[in-house]
Symmetry: D2
Subunit: 312 residues, 4 copies
């Protein structure tokens, strides 16, 4: 039904024309973890990484990196988040048990603090490991690359405070974080990135959350293609930020839309975590920490909400 | 509007009549953490407990304790869980970004693997810290006792394998786990419970999940009032199990409905985690572990879904 | 549990103090259709009224009075409306059937064009026929006064073009339509109201729909208490308008909130239809018509969406 | 991206091979109402048809043809219907207004009594008027063939009581209603079908609704391809029935899945109404009536719920 050769040719042409392909062939599959892999860079998390994370816990201080999910939080496009408390149930029994639950309707993996899985982003019709969306995207859930395959992300985490490196409280919307910004900020912090780490970028943009939602969503400072390629080379597991997009929006190349998402997710199996709370880590200069997160195992989902933890 | 004296009198009478009050006054508020507290037993998690948990990590082995959320999983009453993948968005830009998200509608804090917060359960109209539901239960979310107040639960975890203690793969539906069962199983395992621990009970009932949903939800083996009182005295933070109710259902006293929920949540600020995956912990005889979980910060919610981690 | 005498006394006092009770006792129950009635003024629709409506059909021209439900339409408070098309299902069989459906999450009876049932509005805790909300308001649906009891509203309809009577295209927000406005507009149109009619008021406010949502929802011209009492005396079945509230908002008496809703729905069993499309009827000077509408029979719901028809 | 010639060739082959094409070319587009039409057979409803319907109203008796939407009703596949009443809002103002609304999440146009629009069904990727789903099927709603284009269906209605013709209260599941059944039943009733009519088939299958949901959804008696072709030739607007599928399921040709849906909707622009309440019409032998229905104008939706009216 689909002419795969034509698609491939088109993708290559597009990549060449737009400069997407930063130092790599445009055929990104099969993945380095095999043609059947559905976990991508989560495979980098070994028991040794867990122990490396453990050793960073010296004070017992826990940081919650997830925002509160609430009516009025900034949302992308026409996404929604609705929570309602139904009438109270009960009383039940002579002990008069009463109970509440809640009804939530939302693009639950893609609102608020959100973790992007491998089924979220494609290059044209092709996703991680070259899967064509026609082959796995089903109304009841993705039949491949669903978030339930990711497993636990328990590893060393690194905060890169680019705002501090640039000497501002908040980077400007549309500011492209470069490779030099990352390496400069890391040098300033005296932090290294190790293979299998989670990397979180502090831009200060999160201070607009619920304060100026219109500005928050209109653009964002963020990681550019060159900086993302640097993180790919460092073999990270996940790139997070305190913005809705993690990557710079709009891209400096006006023809490109979310190219960093493509570079990380389908091409390299690296996850993205958006709308993280990074304020307290930056304030306390916690640049290394044990990171704990496991996506909700929503069968066939593209992402997950979350409240990841950074522990020192 | 409400006659509180009458309510209080009624509750006391009911408690006396039914024997709910196992060794405590029926006035459970203000809480031991003060009249304004909204975190309950989560206050027991100190930096020292985090470090105690850390020290249990010796192998770097991670267990996911959360079930997959999926259509067809057992649900309580008329609750629902719906996940759909909308038509693919895009292509965007010359780089042809395509993306998926997911629409979820559910009693999200009270389906599948679920964490019960302090706003979930009342004794008549009174909840934790004596809050009357008329004062905090609002359509847009609970204005007190919402799940966003809980914070991270990062502490020592203990698995009590009652099934193994009783010499069966699966306890019978309606079997009441007694104080002697808990202490006997702990002795068999050579495990102690410390103040501030998370306790998870393995009953084997979880093996019915998706195998025989009707049987799974019709009843459950579980913790009885006496055993729960023992856990209260041990000053635990959370009691979890591999059943939908954690407590025994039906209760041996046919007049009582979910009395263990009342004893733990409103009366003692102790959380409940239901439908946990305990099979692998039991199989590997992992009776002590570092437990990591933080509820989704759903503003004003009564509970949270989750994928808690047990690490050795 | 509730002290009903105290409640009743309070309601009477409130009514006397605020002047809500315009010419009627404050005990509005039992209803004129009996203490068990759940249909209110829908009981006024007899076969004779259906035939009266039929006789108004002379040209075969049909007007749809329902707005399009869409993302971006004005919404009250934090209500939401979400519609998504899931991935296409199929192909099925050798004939390759493909199909789409849609996922909708919304306060479905109370967004966009919306019909207010008898369970929607109370005076304190008391609703139509004196039902206390504690007795019928349940999480799974109202056990009394649900929208499924209303039945078909097929009767004579009257449009009152108050904007034209006042010589404007659009009444101002907050303008209170008086009894004199209604009688004056009716005289100008040479239209009478009959017992059992549906009455729809054209204010011109609907022209703001999707054009200036912020202004549309910030206030509204509408029926005041005196005018509403006039309609009660005319024994209408339903009062509709091209505004989100039908009644004037804010009420000229700043202490009152939605008092016309109370006068019509609980006190008199008269329905309200909001956000109707009246532009074409006004343009064509269709002041009398056959009206056809039946609420969706959503069990236990408080309202219904709709696309009512006016036929000449 | 798509090779349309290949698709067309495949569809023709499939049609020839399976006998779908009953007396018509397999190229069904452009439609007889033009290549830009989005209303299909609704175009047959002229003012003259409205007047024809009016003239059938002689007694003022109104029948509701819509089921109650409720938890526990039979649902197709993994579709859901959830309705909850949130906590009561209020009291507002000195007049103490309290109000309820409802949260509904559902495949709202495709659960319970449901009206299938032109965007619901395709032959492979091609829908009514030859639209390729890649061109109009978007996550936020169909950009063509959305239900908001249909408009009011106010016309003559005909009930065909096939169960009575066959001398049974309920046809068997899987029974194919033939052309001879339709013409025989019409002759028995002395009813004719006119161009522009709505036709509703009574099979008796609806008596299983909520009585034996498993049996109700496992199969259905219904219109077969030959009978459907007869209705196409009669130039009807809509075919309804008291079953979930209207057409016979399973089809006698085991290779075909919902071929009658394809014949009516994409190929001929004729609508389908499922799960209608026909019991009372059959009981009262109301074989001709005025039919009133207008889909909810859900922008970009594939169908609509409803409570259509039959009036005599």
């Amino acid at each position: 039904m689909r002419n795969r050769k034509l698609i491939s040719a088109f993708v290559v042409l597009a990549a060449v024309a737009t400069g997407v392909a930063v130092g790599q062939s445009d055929r990104w599959y099969p993945s380095r973890w095999g043609a059947d892999d559905q976990r991508g860079a989560a495979n980098r998390i070994t028991p040794a990484k867990v122990l490396e994370a453990r050793d960073l816990i010296t004070r017992g201080t826990v940081y919650q990196l997830g925002h509160v999910y609430e009516s009025g939080m900034p949302l992308f496009g026409t996404r929604h988040f609705s929570l309602r408390i139904p009438q109270t149930y009960g009383p039940l029994g002579s002990n008069r048990t009463m109970y509440h639950d809640e009804i939530v309707s939302a693009e639950i993996g893609q609102v608020g603090t959100q973790f992007d899985g491998l089924g979220h982003i494609g290059v044209g019709d092709l996703f991680y490991n070259g899967h064509d969306r026609a082959d796995f995207s089903r109304p009841d859930g993705l039949t491949k690359l669903g978030i339930e395959n990711v497993g636990a992300l328990t590893t060393r985490g690194v905060l890169i405070d680019v705002a501090a490196f640039k000497g501002v409280a908040r980077l400007e919307g549309g500011y492209e974080i470069t490779r030099a910004d990352l390496t400069g900020a890391l040098a300033r912090q005296r932090t290294e990135i190790h293979s299998g780490d989670v990397v979180i970028v502090h831009t200060g943009w999160g201070s607009l959350w619920l304060q100026d939602n219109a500005k928050f969503t209109a653009s964002a400072p963020g990681v550019g293609l060159e900086a993302a390629q640097y993180l790919v080379e460092r073999e990270v597991v996940l790139v997070g930020a305190d913005t809705w997009s993690m990557e710079v929006v709009p891209n400096p190349n006006p023809e490109l839309q979310f190219p960093v998402h493509q570079l990380l997710i389908p091409r390299n199996g690296i996850y993205i975590f958006e709308n993280l709370l990074t304020e307290e880590l930056a304030r306390d200069r916690v640049y290394e920490f044990a990171f704990f997160y496991a996506p909700l195992r929503l069968k066939g989902a593209t992402g997950s909400p979350g409240n990841p933890l950074a522990i020192r």
